[in-house]
């Protein structure tokens, strides 16, 4: 179960806010599991969507719950990106919870996790 609670002060457009958070989940997930720019001695070698994979429809979490804290007495805080920042650490925490190993470098690819576990 994926739960994201967001406090952005006064909520003006709840549908738009939900859409933004959903996007942030996918971008946070993408960073946590896939995204890394590779280099050789001379140049960037991540040059297309095969060498720089990102999250796809297959990666959408099965169950997602969003909690919108509507605090009308607070100034408008903006909701552009905050869940992205939290989502990647949440994935890393889940890996820690499952394995007891802290991995402090993204992305958490199968190879990286296997290496950390060995």
């Amino acid at each position: 179960m994926t739960v994201v609670a967001l406090d952005c002060g006064l909520v003006i457009n709840p549908i738009g806010l939900r859409a933004a958070i959903e996007g942030q989940i996918m971008q946070g997930l993408s960073r946590a599991l896939y995204e890394e720019v590779h280099f050789d001695e001379r140049k960037v070698t991540s040059t297309d969507w095969y060498s720089y994979p990102i999250a796809r429809l297959e990666d959408v979490p099965q169950q997602v719950e969003l909690v919108l804290l509507n605090r009308a007495d607070q100034p408008i805080g903006g909701a552009g990106e905050p869940a992205i920042v939290c989502f990647s650490p949440a994935v890393a925490n889940a890996v820690f919870n499952a394995t007891g190993i802290r991995i402090r470098r993204y992305p958490l690819t199968p190879e990286a996790v296997k290496k950390a576990l060995s």
């Binding site: 859409a19 996007g23 942030q24 989940i25 996918m26 796809r56 429809l57 297959e58 990666d59 959408v60």
Partner: protein, 151 residues
């Protein structure tokens, strides 16, 4: 000069035979629904139907087009949208919208002749369509909604 049928209308191709279908659609037929994304058939933004099958128009030479072409503009009209177009609007299944045309065309191919689709079928069928904003959850919801309304 070759003639192709696009959204039910014939079009005489001006470009050379090796020109990607996408360029002909956008530059000659003035259909800007199909998008240029990666140009490598990796992202799906250029997806159109040829003879009912989804193809990546950015890597399809126009001379290889052997059947009628349908783009997102040919699926429905603003007055009478395709069930997928209607569902995508209702579910607000786009953020920047650049991938939307290709996703709708891939989904339309999936729904052809189907009464119901599972979550997993949608995920698999649209796996090759990349979305950078993260509209994925709404895309799944919209395709599911449309599946009920497609004959």
């Amino acid at each position: 000069m070759a003639t192709i049928t696009v959204n039910g209308k014939p079009h005489t191709v001006q470009a050379s035979p090796d020109t990607p279908l996408l360029y002909v659609l956008r530059n000659e037929v003035q259909l800007n629904g199909p998008k240029y994304g990666c140009g490598l058939a990796q992202c799906g933004a250029c997806t159109v139907h040829v003879d009912g099958q989804p193809v990546r128009s950015c890597v399809t030479p126009v001379s290889q087009v052997r059947g009628p072409v349908v783009t997102v503009e040919g699926l429905g009209t603003p007055d009478k949208p395709h069930p997928l177009q209607k569902a995508f609007i209702e579910e607000q299944a786009a953020q920047c919208g650049y991938c939307t045309s290709g996703i709708i065309m891939s989904a339309a191919a999936l729904l052809q002749g189907k009464k119901q689709v599972s979550d997993q079928e949608i995920r698999s069928a649209l796996e090759g369509n990349l979305c950078r904003c993260g509209a994925h959850m709404r895309v799944i919801a919209a395709v599911k909604k449309a599946a009920g309304g497609v004959a």
